[in-house]
C-alpha cells in the first residue's frame, strides 16, 4: 500500500462488515420472519438478500437486519417488517428477492415506503 486512497478503500470495504457490531438502539431494524412458515415460503433468500445489500451499500452502521419467529400471518410469508427509530413500523408481505431489493433501494436508502407490497395494500384489509 502506498497511498491514503488505498487505505480508504480498505476502510470502506470493511466498514460495512464491521459496522454490524455497532449495536445501537437508534438503528432502523429490518426483521424477517424466519419461523417454519417463513422458511418454507422462502424467507432465507430474502433475509440473505437484504443483509447482503445493507452491507454492500454501507448501511450496516444504521440498519440492523435480524430474524424473528412467526408473526401469525403465515399465509402472507415471507414477511419483512421495518422498524424505524421513531417507533413506526411497516410490514411487507409475500416478499421475494426482487421485492427485497426494491425495499432496500427505496425504503432503506431513500426512506420511501413501497406501499404496494405492504400488508395495508393487500386483500387482507378489504
Amino acid at each position: 500500500m502506498k497511498s491514503l486512497a488505498e487505505l480508504k478503500a480498505i476502510k470502506e470495504k470493511m466498514q460495512g462488515q464491521v459496522g454490524i457490531r455497532n449495536h445501537d438502539e437508534a438503528h432502523t431494524r429490518v426483521v424477517v420472519g424466519m419461523a417454519t412458515c417463513g422458511i418454507a415460503a422462502g424467507a432465507r433468500p430474502v433475509l440473505q438478500t437484504i443483509a447482503t445489500l445493507v452491507q454492500e451499500k454501507n448501511l450496516s452502521g444504521k440498519v440492523e437486519v435480524t430474524q424473528t419467529g412467526c408473526i401469525g400471518l403465515c399465509q402472507y410469508e415471507p414477511i419483512v417488517e421495518v422498524f424505524t427509530p421513531d417507533g413506526e413500523k411497516v410490514t411487507y408481505i409475500k416478499m421475494d428477492e426482487g421485492k427485497a431489493r426494491e425495499i432496500v433501494d427505496k425504503h432503506l436508502v431513500r426512506g420511501v415506503i413501497v406501499s404496494e407490497y405492504t400488508v395495508g395494500a393487500s386483500d387482507l384489509n378489504k
Binding site: K2, K13, M14, V18, V32, Q55, E64, G69
Partner: protein
C-alpha cells in the same frame, strides 16, 4: 456477505475457561446447518467480563451469552442463528429483566464504562488488519504523515493532557518533546513500548495486545515520526504467548501493507518494529532496566539522569511508553486534543483501564473516565463483594501502591488524588479486599513479591525489603513487639529514600499504607496476639462450641492428626497442642459448631 456475526472472546481469560472448543463447535454446527455463507464467526480480544467466560456476542442483535459450553452451541445455532430466537437462558443475567432483553450497554458492568484504549477489544478480529482498518485503523498515522509536522503531532499529544498509563503519570507529550529536542544532532533514536506488565493482578496491557495489536504498531509509528526515530522495540514478557503471537502476526501484516517499512504513505518516513521478549522479571518494567534488557544485558536499573530522552537504548535518545498510553494515541490524533481533554479531571485527562480482581463479583477489565469514584468501580461496575461481605480496602498500583480504605471510597480516582491518600495509580491493577483479608498479611504478600523480584543491585532494596518481610513475618506469627512497628516505619522511610530505582523506592508502600489505615490490625497482632480477620494461622485457635456440637464425630474422623476427641453423641474437644490448623474440621462440620479465632 454475512448477515450475522458471532464474536467469541479469544483472550487469555476466556481461553482458560475453554473458548477454543466452543469456537470449534460453533464452526462445525454452523456448517452443519448450512449457514457458513450467512454467519461469520470471529475470534476477538477481551470483552472485559472475564469472570463470565467463555463469552460470545451475536450481532446484529447484540445478544451477550456468558459461560457458554460446547453443549450449548447447537441450541444457539438452531434457535438463534437459524430462527432468530435468542436463547434467553444463556444470556448474561444482567441483560435479562422482566421488561425483556436489555442492551449490554445498559448493564451495570458497561453503563459507566467509557472505552477508548479498549475500544476495539472484543469488537474486531485482532489477527486481521482489515478489520482494524475498518474501524479507522491507520487513519491517524496517515493523517500525521501527510498533513502534520512532527511538532504539530507533539503539540496535539501535549494539549490532550495524556499522562503515562504505566503508573508514573509523566505527561506523554513532554516526554516526546524532550526526545525530539534534547539531542538535536542524534544519528539514531528509538521508540520503545513497555509491555512488561508485572503487577500481580494487572492484565490490561496483555488484553490490548491480544485484542487490538495494531493500535500499538500505529501509535509507535506516530511516536517515531514525532521524535524522529525509525526503529521501535516492544518489550513484552514471554509469559504472554497469545499477546506475542498476535502482535507478531500484526507486525507481519503491517509490513505487507507497507504500513511499516520504508517510505510509509510515500512520505519519506521509514519505521519498523521488533519484539523483544522479557523473562518476566518485575524490575524490567523499570525503564532503564527494560532498555538494558533489550540490549541483551541482565535487567538491572541504572541511575537517572541521564534520562532515556537523552541517553536511552544504546545510549541514543529513546522514548518508552506503556501499552495503554499508546492505545490512546491514534484516537487523540483523529479526534483532537480537546476531545480527549474533555474527559477526566483537571489534571488527569482521558480514561483509565483497571483490572478488577480479588473479592469482587465481576472480575475483569474495565475502562472508566478519570475521576470516577472507587465506589462506582467496585459496586456499580464490579457488582460488589461476593457473599454479601463488607468492603475493607482496595489495593491499587500493585506492590508499588497502597490500599484505599472504606473512608476514601468516594474519592474521584486520578493520579494526584491517589498519591494524596498514600496509594498510586500504578498500571491499573485493582485488587478488592473484604473483611476476611488481614491487612498485615496483604502487606506481607506484596513484600514477599518484592523480596523475590528485587534485582539485588542496591543494598537498601536487596536487604531492606528482606528485613521488612522478616519483621512482618515476626508480627504475623505472634512474636512481634510494638518496637517492631516503629522499626517497620523507620525502615520504610530508609528504603524509599535510598533505593536506586522505582522498584525499591516504592516497595515499602504496601506497608506504609496499611500502617496508615489499619494500624489497629498491626497492634492486635502484636498486643493481643490475634488476627482480627482470622487469616494468620499462627494466631488462630480452633474451638468447638459445646452448645452447637451434636457429637456426630465427622470432625474427629476428618482430622488428619487426631486432635479431636469425643464419643458419639457427646461433645467433642480439640486439643490445641495437636491441632495443625488445617481447617478440615470447620469445612466438614454441618452445625457450624467449630470456630476459629
Amino acid at each position: 456477505m454475512f448477515r450475522s456475526h458471532v464474536l467469541i472472546c479469544g483472550g487469555t481469560g476466556c481461553t482458560s475457561s475453554g473458548c477454543k472448543p466452543v469456537m470449534d463447535a460453533m464452526k462445525s454446527e454452523i456448517s452443519k446447518a448450512g449457514l457458513e455463507k450467512e454467519v461469520h464467526v470471529v475470534q476477538t480480544g477481551c470483552f472485559g467480563l472475564c469472570a463470565l467466560g467463555p463469552i460470545m456476542i451475536v450481532y446484529p442483535e447484540g445478544s451477550f451469552y456468558s459461560m457458554v459450553k460446547v453443549a450449548d452451541v447447537p441450541e444457539i445455532v438452531s434457535e438463534h442463528l437459524l430462527k432468530g430466537r435468542v436463547v434467553e437462558r444463556l444470556l448474561y443475567h444482567e441483560t435479562v429483566s422482566h421488561e425483556g432483553v436489555k442492551s449490554l450497554n445498559d448493564t451495570g458492568f458497561y453503563k459507566k464504562q467509557l472505552r477508548v484504549a479498549l475500544r476495539n477489544c472484543g469488537v474486531i478480529n485482532p489477527e486481521l488488519i482489515d478489520e482494524y482498518i475498518g474501524t479507522d485503523g491507520y487513519q491517524a498515522l496517515g493523517k500525521c504523515l501527510t498533513e502534520m509536522t512532527p511538532e504539530e503531532v507533539i503539540k496535539v499529544v501535549l494539549d490532550s493532557g495524556l499522562r503515562g498509563r504505566g503508573g508514573g503519570g509523566f505527561p506523554t507529550g513532554r516526554k516526546w518533546d524532550l526526545a525530539r529536542k534534547l539531542v538535536p544532532d542524534a544519528d539514531q533514536k528509538y521508540v520503545c513500548c513497555n509491555a512488561d506488565e508485572g503487577d500481580p493482578g494487572a492484565f490490561m496491557d496483555r488484553s490490548v495486545l491480544e485484542g487490538d495489536p495494531h493500535v500499538i504498531i500505529e501509535a509507535m509509528a506516530i511516536a517515531g515520526y514525532a521524535i524522529g526515530a525509525n526503529k521501535g522495540y516492544v518489550y513484552v514478557r514471554a509469559e504472554y504467548p497469545i499477546a506475542i503471537k498476535r502482535l507478531d502476526i500484526a507486525i507481519g501484516q503491517a509490513r505487507n501493507y507497507g504500513l511499516l517499512g520504508k517510505n510509509i504513505f510515500e512520505s519519506g518516513f521509514d519505521f519498523d518494529l521488533e519484539i523483544r521478549l522479557g523473562a518476566g522479571a518485575f524490575v524490567c518494567g523499570e525503564e532503564t532496566a527494560l532498555m538494558t534488557s533489550i540490549e541483551g544485558n541482565r535487567g538491572e536499573p541504572t541511575p537517572r539522569p541521564p534520562f532515556p530522552a537523552e541517553k536511552g537504548l544504546w545510549r541514543k535518545p529513546t522514548i518508552l511508553n506503556n501499552v495503554e498510553t499508546y492505545a490512546n494515541i491514534p484516537q487523540i490524533i483523529l479526534k483532537g486534543a480537546d476531545w480527549f481533554s474533555s474527559m477526566g479531571t483537571e489534571k488527569s485527562k482521558g480514561t483509565k483501564v483497571f483490572a478488577l480482581g480479588g473479592k469482587i463479583n465481576n472480575t475483569g477489565l474495565v475502562e472508566v473516565p478519570m475521576g470516577t469514584t472507587l465506589r462506582d468501580v467496585v459496586y456499580e461496575i464490579g457488582g460488589g463483594i461476593p457473599h454479601g461481605k463488607k468492603f475493607k480496602a482496595a489495593q491499587t498500583g500493585g506492590p508499588s501502591g497502597g490500599c484505599i480504605p472504606t473512608e476514601h471510597l468516594d474519592i474521584p480516582i486520578d493520579y494526584d488524588n491517589l498519591i494524596a491518600i498514600g496509594s498510586m495509580m500504578g498500571s491499573g491493577g485493582l485488587i478488592v479486599m473484604d473483611e476476611d483479608n488481614c491487612m498485615v498479611d496483604i502487606a506481607k504478600f506484596f513484600l514477599e513479591f518484592t523480596v523475590d523480584e528485587s534485582c539485588g543491585k542496591c543494598t537498601p532494596c536487596r536487604i531492606g525489603t528482606r528485613r521488612l518481610f522478616e519483621i512482618l513475618e515476626k508480627i504475623t506469627s505472634g512474636n512481634g513487639t510494638m518496637e517492631d512497628i516503629n522499626k517497620l516505619e523507620e525502615l520504610c522511610a530508609y528504603i524509599c529514600d535510598n533505593s536506586l530505582c522505582g522498584l525499591g523506592q516504592t516497595a515499602p508502600n504496601p506497608v506504609k499504607s496499611t500502617l496508615r489505615y489499619f494500624r489497629d490490625e498491626y497492634i492486635a497482632h502484636v498486643k493481643e496476639k490475634k488476627c482480627p480477620a482470622g487469616v494468620c494461622e499462627d494466631l488462630l485457635t480452633y474451638r468447638i462450641i459445646p452448645d452447637s456440637c451434636k457429637g456426630c464425630t465427622l470432625c474427629a474422623r476428618v482430622c488428619p492428626v487426631n486432635a479431636i476427641s469425643g464419643d458419639v453423641k457427646a461433645i467433642h474437644v480439640i486439643d490445641p497442642a495437636k491441632c495443625i490448623k488445617c481447617n478440615a474440621c470447620v469445612e466438614k462440620c454441618k452445625f457450624n459448631a467449630i470456630i476459629r479465632e
